[in-house]
């Protein structure tokens, strides 16, 4: 196929079918910049269209350009009619795919749209081995299935993923849960604007807690500490997010958290000389503490060591698990 041989022709925009059609793959975009560009310099590259069964046109490539032209009130546009040079649906889809692949990065919903469209033409094995690597995705059937699940997700979840407000790992973890848990957790994640790490932590803690305590995630989150936290007008979102994670972490890891608190409180009660730090493994797996001393010269080091030596409080530091 060679799309360069497609004929340039004026097409009435009313003749072009609404919606992205079977070939295009754009989602979660803004038309503002494109409209401004068209206003200034016109459409540089003609959209590709093909005749459909109703006598009108489907967009093969240039969905956003057509939408922008419509938004600008243009009645018609020069398009390339590729009906004869790209006779099959697969060829049209691939023309759009490779054009986009070469010029921009796909968001995750767009990747899902691409896989969904490819699935109508190709066998799963071919998509897994040939196309998923092009989309920077692992060739796993599970990942393949995940992207279809993504297309069935609520619109607000899809938008959050496309806008990179919800991580792929986060949404994957959500999909492991029942629908109600997904809905409730998504509200918390988007309401508190959790970052990607916080998203993963909250999903993992709460899922573990719900399994261990045989409670639903909704039940856990409707408990008083969480409802009170949400209503607390004195805390902003990042503070609420931090507090929520603390509550969940303590409930999930009570002994570890308590032991860490004891160590923290012991260390903070010691008046260490300036530029001296005591570090420890937060998992309390490494048995030793680490002493870090910054110094400019030997004289300063000698003084620091002397000051440390004189500190009686050091003996309050015990084996990391001594409190247990």
């Amino acid at each position: 196929m060679d799309v360069r041989t497609g004929e340039g022709t004026w097409v009435e925009l009313d003749e072009i079918a609404e919606g992205p059609g079977p070939c295009t793959m754009s989602y979660g975009f803004s038309l503002e910049t494109l409209c401004e560009s068209i206003r200034k310099v016109g459409v540089i590259s003609a959209p590709l269209v093909s005749r459909n069964e109703k006598g009108g046109f489907d967009i093969v490539s240039g969905y956003r350009r057509i939408l922008a032209l419509k938004a600008l009130g243009e009645p018609k546009a020069i398009c390339k009619d590729v009906t004869s040079v790209l006779p099959s649906g697969l060829e049209r889809l691939l023309a759009n795919f490779y054009e986009n692949l070469a010029t921009r990065r796909f968001n995750e919903i767009e990747k899902a749209m691409i896989l969904d469209r490819l699935r109508r033409h190709l066998k799963t094995e071919e998509i897994l081995t040939c196309f998923m690597p092009l989309l920077s995705l692992p060739s796993h059937k599970d990942t393949f299935e995940f992207y279809f699940e993504l297309l069935n997700a609520e619109q607000e979840v899809q938008l959050a993923v496309a806008r990179e407000e919800l991580s792929v790992r986060g949404v994957k973890a959500l999909f492991e849960l029942d629908k109600e848990s997904q809905r409730v957790l998504f509200q918390w994640i988007s309401g508190l604007r959790l970052n990607f790490n916080q998203q993963m932590n909250i999903i993992e803690y709460i899922n573990d807690i719900s399994k261990r305590e045989d409670m639903s995630i909704s039940q856990v989150l409707s408990e008083e500490p969480f409802s009170k936290l949400m209503k607390n007008a004195r805390l902003n979102n990042p503070q609420k997010a931090k507090k929520m994670l603390e509550i969940l972490r303590f409930r999930r890891y009570p002994r570890l958290t308590r032991a860490q608190q004891v160590i923290e409180s012991t260390l903070s009660a010691i008046s260490l000389p300036p530029r001296v730090h005591i570090r420890y493994d937060p998992h309390l797996e490494e048995p030793n503490y680490h002493l870090e001393v910054e110094f400019k010269n030997g004289k300063e080091l000698r003084k620091t060591v002397k000051d440390l030596h004189a500190l009686d409080q050091l003996e309050a530091i015990l084996d990391p698990w001594a409190s247990q």
Binding site: D142, E176, H283, W321
Partner: protein, 363 residues
């Protein structure tokens, strides 16, 4: 345990071995047998392990390798004889679910051809004791009714006086062993757990009682025994539950003829958690307080490990096992606090177990 093999595949490259012919003959009439190219792509479905297809494969790499151990913890210096990968049992905690990226029960058809070279390596280090096991990447005996490693490996060990071979299993497939004339320097080991974990998490595996009955049969036939409580799992009434297992051991086994018993608390690669959640949604084995260990694997917080190990040590001592209890992939301070002593280093642990082998077999 009835093996539910639904298909066998003879891979190109494996047909030439007499082992393959014997296995094909054994399977003929019980399931379809196909010929196929070696798998070139990894498993596409991470949750489908295809445990009912047996693949006869020619393994291109070295079959005898030291256990890789794990960073930051003491390793016993074991040697792994890689006879195949994956296992027909389906334990929820099994690391093999994420360890290999190829599906099916893979049996290496070229082991016999490599034994000569392995034998030369063993002979080249006469003063070194080789503790070799086949149960790391598969169950040593689960497929034995078909593949009959017990016909091949004990006679090989008989020729190498510095070698001890351990068959590690959860099954009762001991017919091959019971009919083998070569029993010296063979340790038959059972992986044990609490009855509750065995019935709830070790899918397809015989009960603890049946395992111990099989162990008793082997002990009566003169085999040295080993046991592995790995993974120890924190679960409701775990002390009573593990105590029940030791009580059963007392009923069936003479502790004086047990060479070693390993203890290891549940640990897993982080990627396994998702697989367990998906494949075994009712499982509660992930309920405990797990931290990321020094090797990046998830393991219980230290006081839990110490408590479990100390409890098991006490129980086993009460039963009558004094020496030979050791920890698999643990830190020196858990050894100290849990068992009351530590070999200090991996080399120290290796020597300790070599000495156990010397005492047991007069090496």
């Amino acid at each position: 345990m009835k093996l539910m093999i639904k298909a066998a595949i003879l891979e190109k490259g494996a047909e030439e071995y007499s082992f393959s012919q014997r296995v094909v003959e054994q399977l003929r009439g019980s399931c379809p047998i196909k010929r196929d190219q070696p798998l070139s792509v990894p498993r596409l479905d991470e949750f489908d392990l295809d445990k009912r297809t047996l693949r006869l494969v020619s393994f291109p790499g070295e079959l005898l390798k030291p256990c890789p151990g794990t960073r930051g913890y003491l390793c016993c210096g074991y040697q792994i004889l890689n006879i195949g990968t994956n296992c027909p049992l389906d334990c929820s905690y099994c690391i093999l679910q994420v360890y290999f990226n190829q599906p099916s029960l893979r049996v290496f058809a070229n082991v016999e051809q490599q034994l000569e070279a392995i034998g030369e390596a063993l002979a080249a280090s006469r003063k070194k004791i080789f503790r070799i096991g086949t149960g790391e990447f598969t169950d040593s005996l689960a497929l034995d009714p078909i593949v009959k490693w017990t016909n091949v490996l004990p006679s090989f060990v008989a020729k190498h006086h510095n070698t001890v071979l351990e068959f590690k299993t959860k099954t009762v497939s001991v017919e091959g062993l019971l009919s083998s004339p070569h029993r010296h320097r063979i340790v038959v080991s059972w992986s044990l757990n609490s009855p509750a974990i065995a019935s709830g998490e070790e899918h397809g595996a015989p009960s603890i009682k049946r395992r111990l009955e099989a162990a008793r049969a082997c002990q009566r036939e003169g085999y040295a025994l080993g046991f592995h409580f790995d993974p120890l799992i924190e679960h409701p009434s775990w002390k009573e539950e593990y105590g029940r297992t030791v009580d059963l051991m007392d009923r069936y086994i003479d502790p004086a003829k047990v060479v070693w018993i390993s203890l290891g608390c549940l640990r897993y690669m982080p990627s396994l958690k998702r697989v367990i959640r998906r494949r075994f949604p009712e499982s509660h084995i992930l309920d405990g307080e797990f931290i990321s260990g020094l090797d990046g694997k998830m393991r219980y917080i230290k006081p839990v490990r110490v408590e479990m190990v100390a409890f098991m040590k006490e129980k086993l001592e009460q039963w009558g096992v004094g020496r030979g209890v050791y920890l698999c992939m643990e830190s020196s301070d858990v050894w100290e606090k849990g068992l009351g002593w530590s070999p200090g280093t991996s080399e120290g642990l290796s020597q300790y177990l070599d000495n156990r082998a010397r005492e047991a077999f007069g090496i």
